[in-house]
Symmetry: D2
Subunit: 340 residues, 4 copies
């Protein structure tokens, strides 16, 4: 094969450009360096580029939060993202909200035995933990008492509610209004007018205590009432983007809404999508389903910019957010009118 | 180190007994052969032993179904398990019920391009599929028209409903009563008096069409009303066991109910648990959380028999069911009174 | 969209046919039932079909063995596969051969603490094990003394060697000739004239003891001398097939040889390939690389029949072998000339 | 349970401290922020702390490189680590060296079709690539011509060799001496006096061309001769540490040597170990084996500092190196004698 054929077959492809690390590197400098790399590195860099575009363009940004990100320490990042409107709509699991409230009430999560770090996940004695009233989430633990505290708080909130019918989103807003911790996801959402959806709320301690309260008190929460609000958010959006952390119900609920919401411009599906997951597609589960697959459904638009970063979200999320903040700060400074 | 010390350190441990394959082996003969093996093989064998004990002892058996098991062809197995009371309570995702109804209405799922089998997941052109009205789930496809059929059916069901308030479980029973396919999960559940729970039903086409119907018609579905029924099932049980396929909301909902339901005998948590999952625990997500971890919460009892099989459920489930059926049939024959 | 369009878009695709489990099912009956299923189930069934064709057609069958399959109890299956020429050439890691020899010497592997089964991998105290002279491989343990026994045996073997230069394959044959256990991989290979290759033998206790022996005695083992023999096996084959268990060096060595060996028929690459792995392709590692990717290199032929089963090999291998044996036995019976 | 009991059970545990992202964050500032987090984030931070200690203390640092890190763009990072003695000994696969040489010869790797980024791994047509002479490694491609170039180069190197017997390490040094690219792993290793080991070199294009050369020319490479040099490196070390990227033969070869090398201080096993892998332990394979397990063998010392980061190495490695460089630069500046 001649050099010419060689060149022709590779035409239009970009060279892999190896990355080199400087002595004092900002997170975004590192990410920019990864742009020319393949595998996870290249995808991480692409995720930052897509997120930047979502922020620069007028995009309604949905975030799906699954996995125990709050117990792992990602809560302040998520709260800041809401507060500064790096995201506009939250869809999450009940568990993350339960742990958000627990921390807002002053309770803590604790690092479990150090031994887990060597690679094992269960070097602790879970039966002993049970006897001590300690509940484990991989290498994090929390005390039963935190849940007692949660119960008291929720009852107080439920007692204050008007006796009207609530959507799940409205119930979560009411809870958020009763929290005063700026680091709280629910409080930040109230302060920033960001709706929080949690379709599977029955599957959480919030749902359980709501049900207990209902046995004596009055509380009506309809299973389907959130749908309009979420669809309207899609219908009214100029552009739409999703950041999917970990799959599950939040991923599906965002994608389903994106699919059925009529758009002003006649287009369909999300314009941007970033997925951070450790689940791969081979067993057909939704959490590992590719964003390409979502295009066949119309959940993601034909020309959407989309990337999956196969990575623990506690690693990828802080990097992406740090890099994007750095870019937005740079843009802000450049846009500032010069004096004189 | 002397032989004596050698022996002492290994005291009480069982030898790994290698497995040998005969020329015509029943599934259970194979599984029994795997009992002396380690890694996934040993766990698979243990899962069958635990399931057998669940069936022989008087156990209320919960199954959590997540992942696209119906599109993958597991529907007849699941329907038979319900029909023959190999399981007594179902907790599932909305998606599996949607695809169950679609098949019950005579629509089909199809195998996608053969190329996927070599190991890639997306060798098809999803944008083209979109144009053809074909929706992809890994290596399975389904046509948009199946969903149109679903919509018509659900509207008919909703129109027939009394104007009372429904729990999600009751709504699913009403849907099942309108299906006539013996292979249907929902129909089998109606026929066998097995309750089907789906806490995240809003996150499915059933939820969407329920919401659309509500815009004009009357339909009240409370988000929390299922809780009592599920808890009662735990309270009334002599023993409880769970088969968890794939994690997600079904896993958590079963475990949460197991945790809070007061037991007659003062014990807490499930007595048996089998988990089949491809998700591992390292990123702290619920779907990969170990059953040991669940003991720290009291979701699984201190002395419970529990095993996790790290395997695609479309492989492990048929094997486990086939092996257990073989054992139950053997027990049935042995128990049959001899003539004369 | 009309029914006609609907039909057209799905033309040529096969329906997913759900599987149902009978009361006494042979392994192959189960596997045949999985043929119409998707995800892992369909791939497992396809692997059996491909293996059957490899056995029926005149195919030189290479097996790549990585992962601790011998400690896990897969040794008798592997030995039988060699002995009955279900495989014709073995490429493996040093570790599997070390553990094969240890068992052939009468030593055993033991199941570690039962607790591992609930899903954790490291509920044992590894520092304590160290003090007891016990070495752990996930949920299997082996005593240090077994390695002392190995050392004595290997020294005896090395002392008997002629002072000629050995290829690694020849050294392994010499070791096999000194074992008398019919369940041994190395002994079965000697008895059945199946060559065993182990390119990374230096990375094993066999390599280590060979090096120690060389300090005083004479032993020449060339790093590259196996290449011709392996390439010749490809060149002389009518058809070639590979069964890849777990990736690593054995996978690459088989694929590399398949790539460079000139074929009589001018074709290139393997005609059949079955890969059983738990590693997925997303991080670009060889063990997870798809068989499609191997076609771009010419390692697998353009029209090859190839399938990857994403599964723990201790689960998938026994099923595949049991199903294929059942088919071969059926063929054998049918081919038997009828009397009279 | 009283507050006192609550406090007691959690005694000595550290609170999870959520991370917050500033507007311009250096990589190490981010990593320090992750120290109080759980799951992957906490482990990543711990890896940096351990690496820093390895660099500050007098430690012989081994790196095991498996997985296609060179094609992915990690080559300059690895070369710099060698050049600046962030690592002292390299153990790698043949493939990484092949691709290192190819790039040193001026050939390139290219990013494959963008579509891979959405999450699928094989949206390209590998049979077409084959026809174009293009070889694929996940989302990277390289042209066949690069391998022709490699062949010419290796032949030239082999022709220059003295006709003495070589260890694999010596052969790799000879190759490195013939490369002039400062970004090359092999060249950097020569320049910095860092030995490169590759026990499975026969399983690579280097091995293949060495064998071809041997058919006519004289070249003796012993399979076991590297052992002494590697063991001596352990014996002479004051402290030892390993950075394991991706498992495989490099991991085992380092660990095996650590196990058998007698230490001056009578201790055994590595003092530090950092493992970056996407493989988890559940199927018993070495690449996913925990570092705890390695303690049972004595490969890692009882009191060693060890952490596994479950992450794509193309993401974790650049972060760890950037953070550690920042720390070392800070230490260097602080240690600089002030003027006057």
């Amino acid at each position: 094969m001649s050099k010419d054929t060689h060149s022709k077959a590779l035409e239009g492809l970009e060279e892999v450009k190896g990355v080199r690390i400087g002595q004092h590197t900002s997170v975004d400098e590192l990410v920019v360096g990864l742009r020319g790399c393949a595998f996870g590195a290249g995808r991480l860099a692409k995720a930052v580029d897509i997120y930047e575009e979502m922020l620069v363009e007028e995009t309604t940004k949905f975030i799906g939060i699954a996995g125990a990100l709050v117990p792992a320490g990602m809560r302040p990042i998520l709260a800041d993202m809401i507060r500064e409107r790096y995201v506009d709509v939250v869809v999450t699991t009940g568990a993350n909200l339960v742990h958000d409230i627990i921390e807002a009430l002053g309770e803590h999560h604790y690092m479990s035995s150090d031994a887990a770090a060597s690679g094992g996940g269960a070097v602790v004695d879970d039966v002993l933990l049970r006897k001590q009233g300690i509940d484990r989430i991989y290498d994090v633990v929390v005390h039963d008492e935190a849940f007692a505290h949660l119960e008291d708080f929720l009852r107080t909130v439920f007692e204050q509610l008007d006796h009207k019918r609530y959507s799940i989103r409205e119930l979560l807003t009411a809870i958020g209004e009763n929290l005063s911790d700026r680091n709280s996801i629910l409080r930040s959402a109230v302060d920033s007018d960001v709706p929080v959806f949690c379709p599977a709320i029955a599957d959480s301690m919030i749902g359980l205590h709501a049900w207990i309260y209902k046995q004596a008190g009055a509380l009506e929460v309809d299973a389907f009432d959130d749908t309009r609000e979420l669809i309207d958010l899609f219908c009214e959006a100029k552009r739409t983007g999703a950041i999917i952390l970990g799959g599950g119900v939040p991923k599906n609920f965002i994608f389903q809404s994106a699919l059925i919401a009529p758009r002003k411009d006649g287009q369909e599906g999300l314009d941007y999508a970033i997925q951070i997951t450790t689940k791969t597609p081979e067993d057909g589960s939704l959490s590992g389903a590719t964003l390409e697959e979502a295009k066949s459904w119309g959940k993601i638009g034909e020309n959407a910019k989309a990337v999956t970063v196969y990575c623990d979200a506690t690693i990828a999320l802080p990097i992406i957010v740090a890099a994007v903040r750095e870019r937005m700060e740079r843009i802000r400074i450049n846009e500032r009118p010069s004096k004189g």
